[in-house]
């Protein structure tokens, strides 16, 4: 006779949904209880926006059509959310080898459930950071209204999910946490510049322009700016692609990253 437990074990939508929520919630709790991580995740964006944005605005802003503070604020916000989830996903590598996550890997849920739970979890972790950065921007008098605030939240969420998919694609091809640590400076740092986080990239030389077009972060940053600068005189100077195009590129590469990354990760996990 089939018991209640047996029925639950069949892995229906409810079971997988509960598992995704539980894995995601665990990541959020872990983040909120890690004071050092909380402090550092807020500190770096604030330094970038406060010092770099404020400094560039004071130095160059007066002689330029750019509001550097708002420009760097939007760039750093998208970059922080995107990178936070991307790097969080790569923590699956150490999770798999270390502590408690063995418990997740032997539970009767699909590997895809684990991956989705992790991406949602890291997105939940990224969003409070995003809110903190937006509040800091408001304090520094970055122009803000309700529409812009909503636009930042929506594009911030998309940037975080997109970063998760990018992290997943990386994860499939990285054998260990050590390799990840060595590779990351080459994957993330160049994108700060090729994605136009800190400075405009409207007039790049052809070769650099190709590199820029290949940088996933560029589309998350540009989408956020597309909504932030919507209906403003600076729009045509700041925004590279129309929002629909950025969104379409992000959506299609999101799917590609997820499929490739998850298949590769599941294969690498068991076929050692």
């Amino acid at each position: 006779m089939e018991t209640k437990n047996d029925a639950a074990r069949r892995g229906g939508i409810g079971h997988n949904g509960a598992a995704i929520a539980a894995i995601a919630y665990r990541d959020l709790l872990k983040f909120l209880r890690d004071r050092a991580r909380l402090f550092s995740t807020f500190l770096f964006p604030l330094i970038f926006i406060g010092f770099l944005g404020g400094g560039m605005q004071a130095t160059f802003g007066a002689n330029s059509e750019y509001d550097f503070l708002a420009f760097i604020f939007t760039g750093v916000l998208a970059q922080t959310l995107w990178q936070s989830t991307a790097m969080g996903i790569v923590s699956l590598l150490e999770d798999r080898q270390n502590d408690f996550s063995q418990e997740i890997f032997v539970s009767p849920i699909s590997r895809y459930t684990i991956v989705f739970g992790k991406i949602f979890g890291e997105t939940l972790v990224a969003l409070p950071q995003g809110l903190g950065i937006i509040l800091f921007g408001i304090l520094l008098q970055v122009p803000m209204d309700a529409a812009r605030f909503a636009g930042l939240l929506a594009t911030g969420l998309l940037a975080a999910l997109y970063g998760g998919a990018f992290g997943m694609a990386l994860l499939g091809f990285i054998p260990s946490r050590r390799a990840a640590d060595q590779l990351f400076p080459f994957v993330f740092l160049p994108q700060y510049f090729t994605a136009g986080v800190f400075m405009p990239i409207n007039n790049l030389p052809p070769l650099l322009n190709i590199v820029s077009l290949l940088s996933p972060l560029r589309y998350a940053v540009d989408l956020m700016r597309g909504l932030f600068y919507w209906n403003t005189p600076a729009y045509s100077d700041v925004v590279l692609f129309p929002p629909w195009l950025n969104f379409a590129i992000m959506a299609s590469s999101f799917l590609g990253f997820m499929v490739i990354g998850t298949i590769q990760f599941v294969r690498a996990e068991r076929n050692r």
Binding site: N5, A8, R9, G11, G12, G14, H15, G17, A18, A19, A21, A22, I23, Y25, R26, L29, K30, R33, D34, N98, D99, F100, S101, Q102, E103, I104, F105, V106, S107, P108, I109, S110, E269, R270, N271, R272
Partner: protein
Amino acid sequence: MSPIIQVEHLVKRYKNSPTNAIDDISFQVAAGEFFVLLGPNGAGKTTTLSVLTTTLAPTLGKVEIAGYDLARDANRVRAHVGIIFQQPSLDQNLTAEENVRLHANLYGLYPFRPAFWLMPRAYKTQVNELAAILGIANEIHKPIKTLSGGMKRKLEIIRSLIHQPRVLFLDEPTTGLDPVSRRSLWDYLTRVRAEQETTIFLTTHYLEEAEQADTISILHHGKIVAQGTPAAVKAHLVENYLLVDADDRAALRQELRQRQIAFSETPLFRIDLNGVSAHQLLKTIDTPLTTVKIHSPSVEDAYLAIIQEHDDDRAKTNGN
């Protein structure tokens, strides 16, 4: 009755390794059995356990657990087994209750709720009962860090049993525990086994833990080199002997020679029993004895003898 674990010609070779970590092993475990897998470091115990618990894909062979094929139905296998890893697998960032709740969600036992007070009544009752068994009613909502090593292990076992697994895999669960915690853990496991009829599959370095097993399997260099009940494994390879001594050692020596009883002096007089009962032998000795010890081999004796024998065989084969 069909076995709950059936392993046939299992082979595992890691990528870039010239040899098999598990080399064509086959065995069965009956439902409710206490099965112990022994072997020196590097013998293939953890690899075997990783394959059986679905975290590692086998290279060749067939495994069925609780009637489900490991290759085709890994999730159903996972639903029917509980696992206690060598390294503690509790999340240090969560409380004891949050660890249990996460497990319950992963196994589809209860819906997800972000706080204990929002969970269904049945869950709350179950957790409160578990806390009472562990004696951590006051600590159940505190971070895991506040619990002792023995408590954490017990919590892991309790957690692994809440989905009522048919097989509980334990990978050296008592490593690092003090003797009191180890004894208490085994008392608890014995009770659970009796109440829930859970099959226990254990790997351990503590050979005295294997004395209570129904079946012992000794793995060496990826192969099973001995298997059977503890008594059978011991009887097959290790001799029983008697150790005796007397105040008048010269008289005892002379009497043993007269009666043609073979002995050696270690310095106690060691007399191999060779199938004769100790009682029968003692009745034939008149010299007053001051010491009488019957040596019954332990699983440890048998284990060491078997490993030694196979190492010698390998050395001979490699030498040729």
